[in-house]
Amino acid sequence: MPAKKMEVHPTRRELIRLKRRKSLAEGIADILQKDLETLIITLIEFRKKAHMCRDRLFEKIDQAYSSFFKAEMITGSITAKELSLVAPIKEFNVETSTTKGVLGLPFSVFNFVVGDTVTKKPRFNIAETPLQLDEAATKIEESIRFIVKLAELTATIREILELISIKRRQINRIRFKIIPQLDATIRYVELILEEIERQDAIRVRVLQRKRKERSIKTI
């Protein structure tokens, strides 16, 4: 679909103004393109981090399950369940804040905070709990840390993706709407100016011819 031209006065001054606006739009599009590239690079980095974090999370969960199954094998499944269910609850919280990231974008920061109420007390009856149950609990805690980290990375990735889509929309608007519109308007103004020039030239030639005829008559 051809771009719709703007309503402007077809003057030379307007033409210069339009050309200036076009070069400014191209400049902005270039800057936005560079921002977009930076965001994409950051996105790739965060995606890699998230991927690594997810791998570590799966590894920890795998280890936790393996330890828990070993504990179950040693104590019996019901005892393992009993011991797990009655262990004092470990209080933890996730504190959220923001930090300035790439292009001044506010990135979410999630901090895993463990309450220290039970850290120095045994959570299980040591005499009859296999070490594997303790290990499973520790691995699960580590897994939760990775889950929080992964949530932080996912939130950042989402923010970057949102900004990328905004930037892409802006670039597309400039490249495929504003610049073609300016081009069409410039072409229109140039056409009109050429037409005026042609008319002026004819008018001059007619005037010259009339002046010539008048001077011949006078002689």
Binding site: K70, M73, G76, S77, I78, E82, K121, P122, L131
Partner: protein, 360 residues
Amino acid sequence: MKPLKYNEIMPKVALEKLKLMEEQKLVDLAGKNLVEIHCALMESSYKEEIVRVLPRENDSIPFEEALLENYAKTLKNLENFSSGDLKKLIGAIIGKIEISNIKTLLRATKAKMNPDEAKSNIIPVGILNKDRCQDILSNSKTIGDVIEQLFDTKYGVILQKTLSDSNAGDNLLPLESALDQAVYQKIQKVVEKFKGSDKLIAKNVLGIEVETKNIKIILRGIAKGISKDLIKKYLLPSFFISDQTVTNLLDKADIKNFMEYLLSSKEIANNPTLKRVFSQFLENLGKPLNQIEEILEKASLKVSLEMQKKFLKYYNVSYVLVLLNLKWIEIKNLRSIIVGSKRKINASEIKSILTLQNNY
């Protein structure tokens, strides 16, 4: 020599020992599915209990229940056929099962578990049978309710006193610790009544069980950064190691110093059996804590087998203690195989958890 008190029990012990599964047969079960394990158990001494609980496919709990019921039956048999001090000793050992049942009641109530599920973890021997446990679970909403219903037993008072003294609130550890301490004090009292080689055997076998449990508590407590005073509260009444040695052991920062100090202490240095067992740990110092704990867990069986070899000539308490240890280890091994099968753990990993003869 054949002391009178062993007249009736020894044939029973021999019979029960014959009923134990062959080790190779047991190892071969590792990695098999529950149907195959079911078939194997139907050809063993567990048949009666397996038929009674009718295990469902892919559910390990009925199998575990059957194993525990079989263990209860063995203990009841031994208690019925024993007399005198030996009967008291078996009674005191049954006390360990009783408190395990009480712990199940307390935990199940706190965790609001389904009474039927919790019931399958009850070993029906001693003061609590399954029906009574179910009644207690159905009528109890809090730990206090459970304790109230146990007032007619010797444990009710202990639990009530601990609950009011410790301000434990919902924490079950002080209660469990008080129960453990009461039972091991009782065992210690009964062992002291034995005479001659029986006393030596019982003291060494049951004493090493307590000492290894205490060492496990200290090592894990130190590793977890738990305060010395708190660790001391959870220790069981020691058979050999004095309070002063325990206090000094708690100051040791690493396992090597800990074991060296333990071996040099006069209590261990004067007891060749204990010294031999604990010297083994010095060779395994580089190993992770869970492997050291595995060695500690096997110490009681190792000592009982040593005692049996040493006093082979006469009937003595070591035969009974060896049987009890072997039976419990067989149950634990079968349980590991069954749970491993339910969780689809590979055979080699299951085998690594089993306690086998060649490892003693």
